[in-house]
């Protein structure tokens, strides 16, 4: 019935080549008016590249794009916005030190006076029932509020197409519900939405159509409501899902890591204070810590690794010995290895060879240094060992860490710590940015390590990952760690509420809150 109306956006045969990677290979699809269209794919499937071309940040090497039937000629984001294309980035392009209003003004091309702009902003906020104070400085806002700025900024331009790049990766389940309401209202007003995600449940709940990308190619276009999460996941990954062999008969041993009443002030202006954190992890146990980004995960990891000292030595006990105020090297020697979230410049030095990156943390446990002198050949051997055992794609131990892809560097770092066979391993985001194959490999390595008797702490924002791996789970919110729960008995609603900062509610009372239970939430990808 809409045959004569051209689609809002049509892509035909889009191809984009980067040095060494074919990011998009003959991609074609169309978005109708008022449609919520999902672009589904793993990290590295080519979603972001595609979007950057629509938004005018990049240009395709081949293929054509049509906007309302006419060729799309946006040479930069400004021109794209003028055509009515709005975009909300995964990593917000916000200015911390500026106010909400100033941030919005920067995204507008017209010369609206700040008073007129404020009036328009308030109008939009009202129309979509969003709460946001235009005069607040961004650095004081929560992640959800920050995303709202981006959305308002896009809405002010009366977009005909709104691109949302992984919008929910940093939101609590409750914030997600609110976001979906806004998006549905927009779509009902005729705005098309291109929704980029790898979260299957969300796509099932929200989207009318899904285009699935794998390795830069369109592998399928489907109606998500007629698919199961499992079937879409298989298309996205291109194979049967492999479950992690968890080894159910694992026996827990002695307490290897005990934290009692750990409190730390905010390290810097945008940091989170840790408040009275206590937990313990046994030999053989995997302890998961869930939570939305920026709730104290990095501070907790720093306190455990020794980059930050606790107030008293006894606050952290490692294999029965107090280490709360010891240096990282001392803790490593005593059996605690840690991997921070950020790979480049924190867990690894990009300009250093893999051999030197080995020296960084393994110099004591692998004896790569003797009486102040570096044993260069031993460090190269160690790097080669990691490369071989963890299947790191690298030219050798002399390759710089910066030359490795994200997934390979992650494998290298994980290998570096695991091969030191620590009694306690603390990792943040073990599979962030890693492809499914590598993720499965890392997961298996962690489970095997626990099996062999190590105590493991995993800090992750990926709830599915935590549910699959951990034996015990806690949630961190604003620097407070919830009481640990047995993963077998944990409920998604309860975890979601804890992530959103609702403390002290029991699972029962939580269920009375008006949150929609989201089906199949725990599908493991």
């Amino acid at each position: 019935m809409q045959n004569e109306v051209p689609p809002r956006l049509e892509m035909t045969g889009i191809t984009k080549q980067f040095p060494g990677v074919l990011a998009n290979d003959d991609v074609s699809f169309a978005i109708k008016r008022g449609e919520i269209h999902a672009l589904l794919g793993e990290n590295g499937a080519g979603k972001s590249t595609l979007v950057k071309m629509i938004y005018g940040i990049m240009r395709p090497d081949a293929g054509e794009m049509f906007w309302d039937g006419a060729p799309l000629k946006a040479r930069n984001p400004k021109e794209a916005r003028r055509l009515g294309i709005g975009m909300v980035f995964q990593h917000f392009s916000l200015f911390e030190a500026l106010t909400v209003l100033e941030n919005i003004a920067l995204g507008m091309d017209g010369g609206l006076s700040s008073r007129a702009l404020e009036a328009r902003v308030r109008e939009v906020l009202k129309a979509y029932k969003l709460t946001l104070d235009p005069h607040r400085v961004v650095s004081t806002l929560s992640v959800g509020e920050r995303q709202r700025i981006e959305i308002v900024r896009a809405l002010l331009l009366n977009p005909k197409l709104l691109i949302m790049d992984e919008p929910t990766s940093v939101l609590t389940p409750q914030e997600v519900t609110q976001l979906f309401k806004t998006l549905r209202q927009l779509a009902s007003e005729g705005c098309s939405i291109l929704y980029i995600s790898h979260k299957l449940n969300e796509i099932k709940e929200l989207c009318d159509t899904a285009t699935i990308l794998r390795g830069g190619k369109v592998v399928d276009e489907c109606d998500p409501s007629k698919e199961t999460s499992k079937s879409m996941a298989e298309k996205m990954i291109g194979g049967d899902l492999k479950a992690v062999a968890k080894g159910a008969e694992r026996q827990f041993g002695e307490v290897q890591l005990a934290v009692r009443g750990l409190s730390l002030g905010r390290g810097h202006d945008f940091g989170t204070a840790l408040k009275d954190i206590s937990f313990s992890v046994h030999s053989g146990e995997i302890f998961g810590i869930a939570g939305v980004a920026g709730n104290g995960q990095n501070e907790l990891l720093a306190a455990l690794s020794g980059e930050q000292h606790a107030k008293a030595d006894g606050v952290i006990e490692l294999c029965g010995k107090p280490v709360g105020t010891s240096e990282p090297s001392t803790r490593r020697k005593a059996g605690l290895c840690a991997v921070p979230e950020e790979r480049h410049g924190h867990a690894a030095v990009p300009d250093y060879s893999l051999a030197n990156n080995g020296i960084l943390t393994a110099r004591h446990r692998r004896e790569l240094v003797r009486s102040g002198l570096i044993k260069h050949s031993a460090s190269h051997d160690f790097a080669d060992e990691i490369i071989a055992e963890f299947g790191v794609m690298a030219t050798g131990s002399k390759a710089t860490a910066g030359s490795l892809s994200g997934g390979n560097l992650q494998k290298f770092i994980m290998g570096r710590e695991i091969l030191q066979t620590p009694e306690v391993l603390v990792i943040s985001q073990p599979t962030w940015g890693v492809d499914a194959g590598a993720a499965a490999f890392i997961h298996q390595a962690l489970v095997d390590m626990a099996q062999a008797g190590s105590a493991i702490v995993i800090i992750s924002q990926d709830l599915d990952e935590l549910l699959a791996l951990s034996d015990t789970l806690s949630v961190i919110n604003e620097g407070v760690l919830s009481a640990p729960m047995d993963v077998e008995n944990a409920s998604i609603e309860e975890i979601g509420l804890l992530m959103g900062g609702v403390h002290g509610e029991t699972a029962d009372s939580a269920k009375t809150l008006p949150t929609k239970p989201e089906a199949e939430h725990a599908v493991q990808v």
């Binding site: 980059e307 090297s329 490593r332 300009d351 110099r363 030359s403």
Partner: protein, 360 residues
């Protein structure tokens, strides 16, 4: 034809070492052109500044004398810069090192013995290190930018020097000249080759560079300095204390500048005079960069910059080129070197410009 930069997968080691050489060569070409345009004998200037000191064997001794302090200070600065601490006040630490050594000399005026020179050396090192201690502690304790504090203290050091040689340290037999008494034999550096002006400074400079090379490439301390400088968060994670590293790096650079000051005072100057600040401390910054912050690179870069110093003096007498021209040549060298840095991480590729597309 258009070109653009394309990121390399790995930094190019060839470019790392080729660009300093290219920068020196390009400085000669551009320098000749520019100085011809502004009305000097451009080709003559390049010939006298860069080649005469090498071809004229009488100038070789001068080279050794000038290169020694540049290398010693340059090695210290390069260690500091690797730790990402920007001591640009080496000139001040050099002056204070020289003054500390002079202080010892004045106290031991009527004494003799083998121990006096080493004592002056220790005083020089301690003086330079002590003078950088203020910026060092301010940086570590209060996060005060060391660039500004070290530089400010250089101006203060010049005033301290003037105060002493015009006042309490002025020689009673100097007929009103602002200078100290001449150092005696036990207070002066020995000549290493009879009949030349080359004193012990030159071999000391080579030893300093070799020791620094060993420390920076073989020891965990060198690894620590590099890590703190290039990735501070990774350094903290690896268990290296940033504050200790910064303090040590600054003390080393200050101490070596002080040592250079002592060697100059007890060597070519033989007494303390207001002309003691010779810009070595500032030129050594260029030396450190041209040497790629590598002790052996600094050794060569020190010689290159010494050539321009000696050559500048030659050009002044032979073709009446103002001495300031040398400064311009040196600055050009640093500019071109920094410009060439991009070739380490990027390669230049030719862009085939398609219709309707503009290269960005």
């Amino acid at each position: 034809m258009q070109f653009r930069f394309e990121k390399r997968a790995e930094p190019s080691r060839i470019m790392l070492y080729a660009t300093p050489v290219a920068a020196v060569l390009l400085t000669m070409v551009l320098g000749a052109i520019i100085f011809t345009i502004i009305g000097y004998d451009g080709i003559g200037a390049v010939r006298e500044i860069f080649f005469t000191p090498l071809t004229n064997s009488l100038k070789w001794q001068d080279l050794a004398v000038k290169a020694a302090p540049l290398i010693i200070i340059g090695v210290g600065l390069s260690i500091g810069y690797r730790a990402n601490v920007w001591n640009i006040g080496a000139e001040g630490q050099y002056i204070i090192g020289g003054l500390a050594a002079t202080g010892v000399a004045l106290l031991t005026q009527n004494m003799s013995g083998w121990w006096i020179l080493p004592l002056m050396g220790i005083a020089g090192i301690a003086g330079g290190a002590a003078y950088v201690a203020v910026p060092a502690f301010l940086r570590v304790r209060l996060k005060v930018n060391e660039i500004l504090t070290t530089l400010m203290l250089t101006y203060v050091a010049v005033n301290i020097l003037n105060y002493l040689v015009f006042g309490p340290w002025k020689s009673p037999t100097s007929f009103g000249q602002p200078q100290t008494v001449a150092f005696n034999e036990s207070q002066s550096l020995p000549y290493i080759i009879e009949g030349t002006i080359v004193q012990a400074g030159a071999p000391i400079a080579i030893i300093v560079a070799l020791v620094a090379w060993f420390v920076m490439s073989r020891t965990i301390f060198g690894f620590q300095i590099n890590t703190v400088g290039s990735a501070p968060k990774a350094a903290a994670y690896a268990g290296f204390s940033a504050n200790k590293t910064i303090l040590l790096a600054l003390f080393i650079s200050g101490g070596l500048a002080g040592l250079a000051g002592m060697l100059e005072a007890a060597g070519p100057f033989g007494r303390m005079v207001p002309q003691f600040p010779s810009n070595y401390g500032f030129t050594a910054i260029i030396v450190a960069f041209l040497g790629r912050l590598h002790p052996i690179g600094v050794l060569f870069a020190g010689i290159v910059l010494a050539i321009t110093f000696v050559g500048g003096e030659v050009a002044q007498t032979t073709i009446a080129l103002p001495n300031a021209a040398v400064g311009i040549f040196q600055a050009m060298m640093l500019f071109l070197l920094l410009a060439g840095d991009i070739l380490i991480r990027y390669r230049v590729v030719r862009v085939v410009v398609a219709k309707g597309r503009e290269a960005t």
